[in-house]
Structure formats: structure tokens, C-alpha cells
Amino acid sequence: MNFDLTDEQQMLADTTRDMLARSYDTESRNKAVDSELGWSREVWQQLAEIGILGLGFEPDESGPIEVMVVMTEIGRRLAPEPVAAAALIPGAVIAAHGSDEQRVLLDDVASGERLLAFAHTEHGRRGSTELATCATQQGDSWTLTGRKNPVLAGDCADILVVTAALPGGGSGLFLVDSSAVTKHPFRTFDGNRGADIEFAGAAAQPLGKGGDATAHIDAAVIRFQSALCAEAVGAMEESLRLTTDYLKARKQFGVPLKTFQTLTQRAADMYVSLELAISMNYYVAMCVADGRFDPMVASRSKLQIGRSGRHIAQEAIQLHGGIGVTAEYPIAHYAARLTAIEQTFGSSTDQLRYLSSQVGTYGVAVL
């Protein structure tokens, strides 16, 4: 057991952090978010050049720990580029289960020329594993009918990795060209982008050999949850850093805010929340790296990240005071992102519902 990054992983973290720090400050980030695309093609190309957009596609070269490291830096800088949603997560699904021909697509993803999206979540089917979107087979060809929402990065994706109910039962994974669907793009409240996507008999290609892919879909969701946990940790670390800096710099009653114990005690609690979140983030990433796609692990991690993220976001704003709710100052943007992450791929309540249903099935809880 160890919790250390390798030298290469540490270098990847440093490189990503430096690159994003050069790319974005609050003002330029807000500008990118307000652009038509919502993020920067230029930054995307830079991410491709340093090899980030293909992380995990060749499991011998990199894997879930590298994804975790990069997502933490994305969260720290609040970069709007959909690294997980448009590249790493759907890419990992194709890498793991796609045919050789389908895997060729990943070269274009890694080079930044093609964007993906994972179209799984459906409106009104919370907590259910059954899908309303269904796949129909005619001869050798397949079509999909249904609706996916929200699809993160669905607005800009070229190829969609879609989940759908199979005619004979179970759920399958399909690739769909985005030109075959109707997209209703939207902005998310934290400045990201997504789409509500309609499939009306859209031509689809089964991923790999096709057939029931329920376990693969569950694994894909866990990968996504792990990436979100990592991103949230970066956002929490930066939120706490900004808050402690503010407590040192800001003066009221002629003294720095850090003079007031009522504030510093709360900052200490934020630190505790952060450390617990870091631990659970490592936990889920290490399990995924071991090929252990365990929903208990993912739920416990996502729940802790949700709880910590909410606590840190709320306290960060409160300890900043009025400046904390402005768009000009970074802290509110971190709070927005943390809030969105809590609601993405299973809210804290959803996680707790699942965990509660399991408590009677074992005695002492073990890692």
C-alpha cells in the first residue's frame, strides 16, 4: 500500500498545472466560458500536444492514476475544456471495449481533432438502471431511438458513445455520429456545456462485438465518477488556498481576518473536509486502476466528495464575504463547479440511497 505518485505522475501534474496556469486567469477563463464554444481550441491543442487527451487509451502507458492527476489540475484551474467528458472517459470506453477499427478513432481524439461524448443519463430516470433509449436491429444495422440528457460535451461532440436498451434485454454500447442526431445545446450553471440529444432512428454501430454491456456501462460511470472526484479535489484545494490567502490579506476592524478565531476554526474544518475528500479520491482512483469497478467504492467516494465539496464551497464563500458571490472573483466559480459536480453522475442523496440499501449485507465495513 502506498499513496505516492511516481516521478512521472508528479511531472504530469506539474506540467498540466503550469500549462493551465499559463493559459488561464480568472478573466481569461471567464472570457473562454462566454465564447460560443465555451472553451478554447487553442488550449485543447496544447493539451493534445502534451499527451493529455490520450491518457489511458494505451493502458500500458498510462491509466486511471494519470487521469486523476490531470483532472485534479483541471479542477484547480477551473479549465472549461471538457477533458473528461469529450476525451478521456468515452475514450476509455472505446479503448476497453471497441473493435480495432473503432479504436483507430482514438488517434484523432488524442490529437485533439475529434471530440467524443458519453450519452448515458436520461431525464426522469434517476436511480434506475433501466434505459428508455432503445436499440433496434435490422439485419446488420442498428438504430437508436430515445433521448439523452444531460450529455456533457454533447454540444460539441463528433461521435457519441451511447447506452441503449437491447431488444433481447440488457443494455448495449453504441457509437453514433453526431450528424445523425438532433442536439439541443445548453450552458450549465457552472459555465460548462452540454446538450439534450434526441435519437430518432439514428444509425448506430455496436461497440466492439456488441451484446449486453451492462458491466462496461457501470464501469464507465465509475470512471466518470472518479474523474469528477479528482476534479472536485483540485477545485477544493484551490478554494481553500484562496480562502486562507484572503483571511491573511483582508483587513477589518484594523486587523487581518485571520485574527478572528471564529473564522480560522472554520477554515480548519474546511481542511479536514478536504483531506477526507483527497483520501476518497485516491481510493476510487486506485480501485479503478486495479480494475476494481466497485459501486460501493465509487458511491462512498462520490458521497464524501459531495459532502466535502458542498461544505468547502459554502464556507469559502461565507469566509470571503460579499466578494465571494461575485463573478469577477474566482471563488464563486469554484463553488458553482463543486455544486455541479455533486449533481453529476449521481448526487450525494443518490449515493446514500444505494449505500443504505447495502448496509445490511456485511458486518464490519472494510476498504
Binding site: 500500500m1 483571511l247 480560522t264 476554526q265 483531506e275 448496509v359 445490511g360 458486518g363 464490519v364 476498504l367
Partner: protein, 383 residues
């Protein structure tokens, strides 16, 4: 980054698990698991078995019976003991005064006290807090005045846990009332409890138990060779001791065992047509605490692997703060499982109300949780 234990550590864990579950009598472990009052004889018996096997004081220097274990191995030792319900070695001996003597004591003091301390031939108690010196420990007033080859001690200590069983007490005393800083005039001295002039007054706690005492010192003459280390350097020894104390206080293994008991009891408790454990409202509270305990367990692994030069990381404050919050959360659940049966004294299996009330102490002792937050905000956050 890797979650699984190495083969060597797995073998190490299995060996300890085997030892704890076969060599420590099951009656002792059952009594300890129930978590009732401390059974003096059980503690003594257990610690002597452990000491004979070289497992009582792994955190001490090797020459005094310690083990050259990694922090992870030490953690495994601690966890496995708790999971097996083994009463842990008396912390006043093995976690507090022993390491201080081993680190700062003279060769003579080490030889005189360490073997007997490891074997629980001496039962130690702690004389730190005073009525006017709680969190502000450095303002303590008990004095020790040098008189020939003795010190004469006058004053009062309080919250002395299990002092009624103790043979010896380790004390912080003021030896230089004129020191420029109050921390600078403090010494660390060892005193036999049957020395003339010492009286003990029990303090009854809210749960009816008798754990802590006031200890009064009236012209108590103590041989000067019982001073540990340098005169007036006691504050740094105390800080060393307190940071060791913080890491031992989380007791995550015990919390996990108690949580499993909460579930076992809840499964046997009918609510309507189902059990309390089937009640989503109750189950969600259990699930939440379980997740929090695992998060702390992982944090403990991260933090304990991070100790530089054997000195506890300031992040160990998290363990104390969060560990005690979770212990308290489990005692709340025990009360709720008992339901109306909790009202009559000793009616429920776990004496849950007494435990719940008693455990309010955990966020106060060992440096109150507010003190831990101050350590975090000052040392880690730089506030």
C-alpha cells in the same frame, strides 16, 4: 499509488490477527468489546501477554522492546488489536510516559522504569491538567521546589484517568516561577503514588462511572533523580507526549466494530413489519457514518506513512478531531437502536446512554477539538 497491502504486509497482518484472536483470552476480548468499565486485571493480563511476545510497545526504541516497523505496520498492529477486541496496552504507559522516558530520560531512569512500564508492573497515570490549566496547560501552578536531593511538590492535578489503579504518576510541575515565558519554567517528574502527602479524590462522571480523579499534593518529597531530562525543559517533553497522544486517539478499528454492532442490533430490532436496519432513514445514517469512518481510515494511512523523523505530522490533528467525532456518532446510533430500552439503567445490552454521555469526553480530552482546529489553522494553513 497502490491500495493493496504488499505480500509481506499481508503476511504480517495475518500473523498478528492469528496472535490476537488465539493468544488473548476470548473472555477478555468480549468484555473489552462491550466497552464497559476498564477491567484492571484484564488490562494487566493482556499487556503482559503482549509484552512477552514483544507486541506491547512497538513504538518504542528497539533496545527497549520496540519494533523497527514501518508506520503502516504499526497501523496494522493497532487496527488488528481493535478489530479483535483486544484491550490496548495502557496508553499512559506505552503511548505517553514510556516514549518520553525513552527519548529524554537518563540511562538510569530508562533502566529503572522502561521494562516495568512495558510490562505494566507499574501502572502509570497522568498529572497534567489542573483546575486552572485545561487547554491552557502551560499556565499550570503545581510547584516543585528543590530541597537538597529532593523536590517538594505542592498543588493539585485533575482529570487523572484511572488514578485509582496507579502506582506512579508523571507530573508537569513548575520549577521556575520566574521564567520569562510560562512554558520555560516547567519540568517533567515521576512520583510514586504512595508518597506521603498525596491524596486522591474520585470525580463521579455523568454516566455514574469512576474514571477520573483529582490528585492533591501537600509537601510531597520526591527524590531529584526522578526528574526526566533537564529541569525546566518539561514543556517540550509534554508537547512530544501530546502529539503522540493525538495519533493514538482516533480508534478507528473500535469505531468500525461498534458500527457493525449497531447494525447487528438494528437488524434484531423490529420497526413495524421490518427491522430498524431496513428503515431507510436509519440505514442512511449508518451508511453515512460508515463512509466517514473509511475516509478517516484512509486518511490515517496517508498521514501515518508521512511521518518525518518519527514525528507525528500536524495532520494527525485530523485524526483526533474526526476520530472522536465519529466515536461520538456511533454512540448516538447505539442510543437510537436501544430506543425506549435505553431509559432504564443497565437495561440495554450496551449500556448505550451511559456510553453516549461518557463519550462526550472524547472531543475534550487529548487536546480539545478546538485546540486541534487551532493547530491545523496555525501550523498547516498558516493562519
Amino acid at each position: 499509488m497502490r491500495l493493496a497491502l504488499s505480500e509481506a504486509d499481508t503476511a504480517f497482518r495475518d500473523e498478528l490477527r492469528e496472535f490476537f484472536t488465539t493468544q488473548i483470552p476470548v473472555e477478555i476480548r468480549e468484555r473489552a468489546r462491550a466497552g464497559g468499565p476498564e477491567f484492571r486485571e484484564d488490562l494487566v493480563t493482556t499487556q503482559r501477554i503482549l509484552n512477552k511476545a514483544g507486541l506491547a510497545v512497538p513504538n518504542w526504541p528497539v533496545e527497549w522492546g520496540g519494533k523497527d516497523w514501518t508506520p503502516l505496520q504499526r497501523q496494522i498492529w493497532d487496527d488488528e488489536m481493535q478489530l479483535a477486541g483486544v484491550p490496548q496496552p495502557l496508553t499512559f504507559n506505552t503511548g505517553m510516559v514510556g516514549p518520553v522516558i525513552a527519548e529524554f530520560g537518563s540511562q538510569e531512569v530508562k533502566e529503572r522504569f522502561l521494562p516495568a512500564t512495558a510490562n505494566l508492573d507499574i501502572w502509570w497515570c497522568q498529572g497534567f491538567s489542573e483546575p486552572e490549566a485545561g487547554s491552557d496547560l502551560a499556565s499550570l501552578r503545581t510547584t516543585a521546589v528543590r530541597d537538597g536531593d529532593h523536590y517538594v511538590i505542592n498543588g493539585q492535578k485533575t482529570w487523572t484517568t484511572l488514578g485509582q489503579f496507579a502506582d506512579w504518576i508523571f507530573l508537569l510541575v513548575r520549577t521556575d516561577p520566574n521564567a520569562p515565558k510560562k512554558q520555560a519554567g516547567i519540568s517533567f517528574i515521576l512520583v510514586e503514588m504512595n508518597t506521603p502527602g498525596i491524596t486522591l479524590r474520585p470525580i463521579k462522571l455523568i454516566d455514574g462511572s469512576y474514571e477520573v480523579n483529582e490528585v492533591f499534593f501537600e509537601d510531597v518529597r520526591v527524590p531529584a533523580n526522578q526528574l526526566v531530562g533537564e529541569e525546566n525543559a518539561g514543556w517540550s517533553y509534554a508537547k512530544f507526549l501530546l502529539s503522540n497522544e493525538r495519533t493514538g486517539i482516533a480508534r478507528i478499528g473500535t469505531t468500525k466494530v461498534w458500527l457493525a454492532e449497531v447494525k447487528e442490533l438494528a437488524a434484531k430490532t423490529p420497526v413495524g413489519n421490518a427491522s430498524l436496519l431496513d428503515d431507510p432513514l436509519f440505514a442512511s445514517r449508518v451508511a453515512e457514518v460508515e463512509g466517514e469512518v473509511l475516509a478517516l481510515e484512509l486518511t490515517q494511512m496517508r498521514v501515518s506513512g508521512d511521518e518525518a523523523d518519527g514525528k507525528p505530522n500536524p495532520a494527525s490533528s485530523i485524526l483526533k478531531l474526526r476520530g472522536t467525532q465519529l466515536q461520538q456518532a456511533v454512540t448516538e446510533l447505539l442510543v437510537e437502536v436501544a430506543g425506549p430500552d435505553v431509559l432504564a439503567v443497565n437495561a440495554d445490552e450496551h449500556n448505550a446512554a451511559a456510553k453516549y454521555l461518557n463519550f462526550r469526553k472524547t472531543s475534550i480530552y487529548g487536546g480539545s477539538n478546538e485546540v486541534q482546529r487551532s493547530i491545523i489553522s496555525a501550523t498547516i494553513l498558516g493562519l
